[in-house]
C-alpha cells in the first residue's frame, strides 16, 4: 500500500487503507504501508496494531498532506523497501498522492505489479483539474488494474485517466479497459450500533456531521435550517464539524435567535461520531460532490434516517427506502427534510432494523476478498513490456507524451545506476513467517 494519506492523519482514504490492510493481513497476506513522515515523531518505521508495518519516507509535504511530485527521489527508498520486503504487488491509493503515482512508475522495473484505487471525483473544467487529470492519465497508462469506490467514481476515473483501449476484434471502437473494477468502501458495523433505548418522539434531532466548507453544501444548510426550525417547533439541529463556513452558521443562528435549537459542536473526533449520531433521528448531508459518502453509511448504520443531496455516488450506496434525496436547491432540501420528519414522527423508521440491514450490505472482509481477486487477476496477467510502456506513454498527447517518456527513460537510467551502486545482494533481506507460509 502506497499513499500520502495515512495515519496519523484521519479521513476516508486513511481509514480505507488501514481497514483493507488489516483484513488482508487477516487473510494471510503480508502488507506494508509506505507513506511520508510526520515530523517530529512519526518517522522511520512504525508498527500498527494488526502487525502492519508502516514506512515513513522523509519527504516534506506541500499542501493538505500531499508531497511534491518529484518522480526520482523516491526511487532509492522505494527500491530498498521493495527488495527488502519481497513485495510482489504495489497498491497505490488516491489520485492526488504523488507517492502513489511515483510508486506505479517505479514498480515495473522490479517486475512488481500495480493496482491503483481512486477515491475522489474531479471535474474537467478548471486548471487544477486539467493538470491533475493529466498526471493521473500518465500514471494510469501503465497500471495493471484500477479500483474505484463507486460506479460514478468509475465513470469519472475512466474519463480522467483515459482508460480506453481499442478492442482486438474491432480496432475502430475503443472500449474501457477490462481492468477497471468497482469495489465499494465498507464500514465496521459494530462501531455504529443504534442506542438501545428508544428515542423520545417529542423532539426530533437532525444531525449534520461534515467539514463546514462550500463543497459540503453548507450554504444549503444555512438556508434551510431556519426554515425547518420555523416550520417544525419540535426539531433541533446538532452540527458537528469545523471549517470556513462556521461563521455563516453562527450568524444565521444569531439572526434567527436559534441558539437553543442549533447546537454547534465544533470539530468531532472519529471515535465520538457514534455518540453524536445516536442523539439524532435524521442525518442531513448537503454535500455538493461525494464519491462514496461513508458518513452517510455510518449514520444509516446507527439507525438514522438519511436525507441527502443527489450527487456523485450517493444514490448507489443505500436502497431508496432508507434515504430521501433532494436536488441541491433550498426548497427541495426543505421538502425532503419535511418528508423525513414526517416519516420519523409517524414511527415508520426502525433504527434497529436499519442497522441490521446495513450490516448485511457492507463488510470489510468481503472488500478484502474482492480486492484479493483483483490482485490475483493482476498477478496472473502478463506484464506490460518496456516498449509497450513507451508506446502507451507517447500516446498521452503531443506535449505530455514526450515529457513523460523522458521521465520514464531517465527513471530507467537512474534505476540502472542504483542497481550498480547498491547491488541487490548487499541489501539486508527480511523474511517474515507469514511470507514463508503464504507467498502471494
Amino acid at each position: 500500500m502506497v499513499s500520502d494519506f495515512f495515519h496519523p492523519n484521519v479521513g476516508g482514504v486513511e481509514n480505507h487503507i488501514f481497514m483493507l490492510s488489516a483484513n488482508l493481513i487477516r487473510r494471510g497476506h503480508k502488507v506494508i504501508v509506505i507513506t511520508h513522515s510526520h515530523p517530529p515523531d512519526r518517522v522511520g518505521i512504525r508498527w500498527l496494531l494488526p502487525s502492519l508495518k508502516v514506512y515513513h519516507i522523509p519527504f516534506p509535504t506541500i499542501a493538505s498532506s500531499a508531497t511534491l511530485p518529484n518522480y526520482f527521489t523516491f526511487l532509492p527508498y522505494f527500491r530498498t523497501i521493495i527488495v527488502r520486503e519481497h513485495i510482489n504487488l504495489v497498491h497505490a491509493h488516491a489520485s492526488l498522492s504523488s507517492l502513489g503515482q511515483e510508486a506505479i512508475l517505479h514498480s515495473h522495473f522490479f517486475g512488481v505489479r500495480t493496482v491503483f484505487t481512486d477515491h475522489s471525483l474531479f471535474g474537467f473544467e478548471d486548471a487544477a483539474s486539467i493538470l491533475t487529470n493529466k498526471l493521473l492519465a500518465a500514471a494510469l497508462k501503465n497500471v495493471d488494474a484500477v479500483i474505484c469506490v463507486s460506479h460514478t467514481g468509475r465513470e469519472n476515473t475512466v474519463l480522467r485517466g483515459q482508460l480506453f483501449e481499442t478492442s482486438e476484434d474491432n480496432p475502430s471502437v475503443s472500449a474501457v479497459r477490462p481492468s477497471v473494477y468497482t469495489i465499494p468502501n465498507a464500514l465496521v458495523a459494530e462501531q455504529f450500533t443504534p442506542s438501545p433505548q428508544p428515542r423520545p418522539t417529542d423532539t426530533i434531532n437532525i444531525v449534520v456531521l461534515s467539514r463546514l466548507a462550500y463543497r459540503k453544501g453548507i450554504d444549503l444548510l444555512v438556508a434551510t435550517a431556519p426554515r425547518v426550525c420555523a416550520a417544525f417547533p419540535n426539531v433541533k439541529f446538532i452540527v458537528g464539524g469545523d471549517g470556513p463556513k462556521l461563521n455563516d452558521l453562527l450568524q444565521v443562528r444569531e439572526r434567527h435567535l436559534l441558539q437553543e435549537r442549533i447546537e454547534l459542536l465544533g470539530s468531532v473526533r472519529h471515535r465520538d461520531v457514534r455518540d453524536i449520531l445516536t442523539r439524532g433521528s435524521i442525518f442531513l448531508n448537503t454535500s455538493l460532490t461525494e464519491s462514496f459518502g461513508i458518513a452517510i453509511l455510518e449514520a444509516a448504520c446507527t439507525g438514522l434516517y438519511v436525507v441527502s443531496t443527489r450527487v456523485g455516488g450517493v444514490p448507489e450506496i443505500l436502497p431508496e427506502d432508507m434515504i430521501s434525496f433532494a436536488y441541491p436547491d433550498e426548497d427541495d432540501v426543505f421538502r425532503a427534510v419535511s418528508e423525513a420528519i414526517q416519516i420519523i414522527s409517524e414511527g415508520k423508521h426502525d433504527p434497529q432494523e436499519a442497522h441490521e440491514r446495513v450490516k448485511g450490505f457492507y463488510d470489510w472482509m468481503q472488500v478484502a476478498e474482492r480486492t484479493e481477486r483483483v490482485y490475483q487477476g493482476v498477478i496472473q496477467s502478463e506484464q506490460i513490456d518496456f516498449c509497450t510502456r513507451i508506446q502507451r506513454t507517447m500516446s498521452l498527447g503531443p506535449f505530455a507524451g514526450p515529457i513523460y517518456t523522458v521521465i520514464l527513460l531517465v527513471d530507467c537510467l537512474f534505476f540502472m545506476i542504483l542497481e550498480w551502486l547498491m547491488p541487490r545482494g548487499d541489501l539486508d533481506h527480511r523474511y517474515s513467517r507469514s511470507l514463508l507460509e503464504n507467498p502471494l
Partner: protein, 296 residues
C-alpha cells in the same frame, strides 16, 4: 437461468464480476457540451470592432507623435483638434446618456470645472514633463513606450456597458489606462517645446482615458455606426502613417485584418474541438432563494 439485470447500486452483491461494465448504462449520464451555443462569424466581427478601434487610436497617437517630433505638424493645430474632439465626444456622450435619468446641471458644471482644472494643471506641468527623461536615452524610451502600449492593448476593457448602469471600473482597465498615459508622457518628454508636450499629453488623455469611456457605451448604437466608426478610425490611422513609413502601413494593415477578419474565423473554426464534459461527478451548484451560489 437468466441473471437479474445489473443495477447501479453498491449495497447489494450482484452476480456480476467487479469489472463488469454494462454496455448501455455506462456513462449514460455523460453530457457533452451542454448549454453550448456556437458563435457565428459576423457577430464576432462586430464584437472585434472595439479592439480595432483601440489599436487604431494607438497608431494614430504614434503617428501624431512622429509628426510632432519631425515638426511636420503644428502643435497649435493639434491642440485645436483635441479640443474639437473633446467637444464632439462630450456631445455624443450626452446623446448616448439621453435615456439615462437626468443628472442635472451640477454634474455638467463639475465636468466643466474638472476639465478646466486639468487643462491648466497640464499647462503648468508641461515644462516639467518636457525635461522629465532628459537623462534617459531615446532607445530606452522607445522600448518602454512600446511595452506599455502592449500592456495597454492586452489589459484594455473591450466590453460595453449600458447607459445608466454605473458599473465599477475593473482593475485591469485602470491599469491599461495608466500604462497608455505613462507611455505618452515618456514619449512627450522627447518633444522639443512645451506647447507640443502639452498638446500631445492632452491628446493622449482624450484618446486613452476619455475615448474608452465613450467606447463602452457604443454597445447600444446600431452596428452600422460601429462599423463606420471602426473603418474611419482605421482609415485615419492609415492616412497618417502612409507618408511616414510604408512598412509600418503594411504592418498596421496586417494587424487590422488579423484582428477583425482572421481571428473571428479562427475562433469559429476552433469551436469544433470544444469538448466540455459534464456528469454526475461535477460539483453541484446549490440554489438558495432561487439564486445560484458560487464558490467564494
Amino acid at each position: 437461468m437468466s441473471r437479474p439485470t445489473w443495477k447501479r447500486i453498491l449495497w447489494q452483491r450482484q452476480p456480476y464480476p467487479d469489472n463488469y461494465i454494462p454496455a448501455d448504462s455506462f456513462l449514460a449520464s455523460l453530457r457533452r457540451n451542454p448549454n453550448f451555443t456556437p458563435y457565428t462569424y459576423w457577430p464576432l466581427v462586430l464584437a472585434c470592432c472595439p479592439i480595432t478601434q483601440h489599436l487604431g487610436t494607438i497608431f494614430i497617437f504614434v503617428a501624431v507623435f512622429v509628426r510632432l517630433q519631425q515638426r511636420s505638424l503644428d502643435a497649435r493645430v493639434l491642440l485645436w483638434i483635441s479640443v474639437a474632439c473633446f467637444l464632439a465626444g462630450y456631445l455624443v456622450w450626452e446623446v448616448l446618456n439621453y435615456s439615462a435619468p437626468p443628472r442635472g446641471p451640477s454634474s455638467r458644471f463639475k465636468a466643466l470645472k474638472s476639465s478646466l482644472l486639468f487643462f491648466l494643471t497640464l499647462m503648468g506641468l508641461a515644462p516639467v514633463l518636457r525635461t522629465l527623461t532628459a537623462a534617459t536615452s531615446s532607445d530606452s524610451i522607445w522600448a518602454l513606450s512600446a511595452c506599455q502600449f502592449l500592456l495597454n492593448t492586452l489589459l484594455a476593457d473591450y466590453g460595453c456597458t449600458n447607459a445608466g448602469s454605473q458599473s465599477q471600473e475593473r482593475l485591469t482597465s485602470v491599469l491599461s489606462m495608466n500604462a497608455a498615459v505613462s507611455s505618452s508622457v515618456v514619449l512627450a518628454s522627447r518633444l522639443p517645446d512645451d506647447l507640443s508636450v502639452f498638446s500631445l499629453v492632452l491628446f493622449a488623455v482624450h484618446l486613452f482615458a476619455l475615448f474608452p469611456m465613450l467606447r463602452h457605451r457604443f454597445g447600444v448604437v446600431p452596428p452600422i455606426l460601429q462599423v463606420t466608426l471602426t473603418v474611419s478610425i482605421s482609415a485615419l490611422s492609415f492616412s497618417l502613417i502612409m507618408s511616414l513609413s510604408p512598412f509600418v502601413t503594411a504592418l498596421t494593415f496586417g494587424i487590422y485584418v488579423t484582428v477583425n477578419v482572421v481571428a473571428p474565423g479562427v475562433l469559429v473554426w476552433a469551436q469544433r474541438y470544444k469538448n466540455e464534459i459534464r456528469g454526475p461527478w461535477d460539483v453541484a451548484v446549490p440554489r438558495v432563494n432561487g439564486n445560484e451560489i458560487q464558490c467564494n
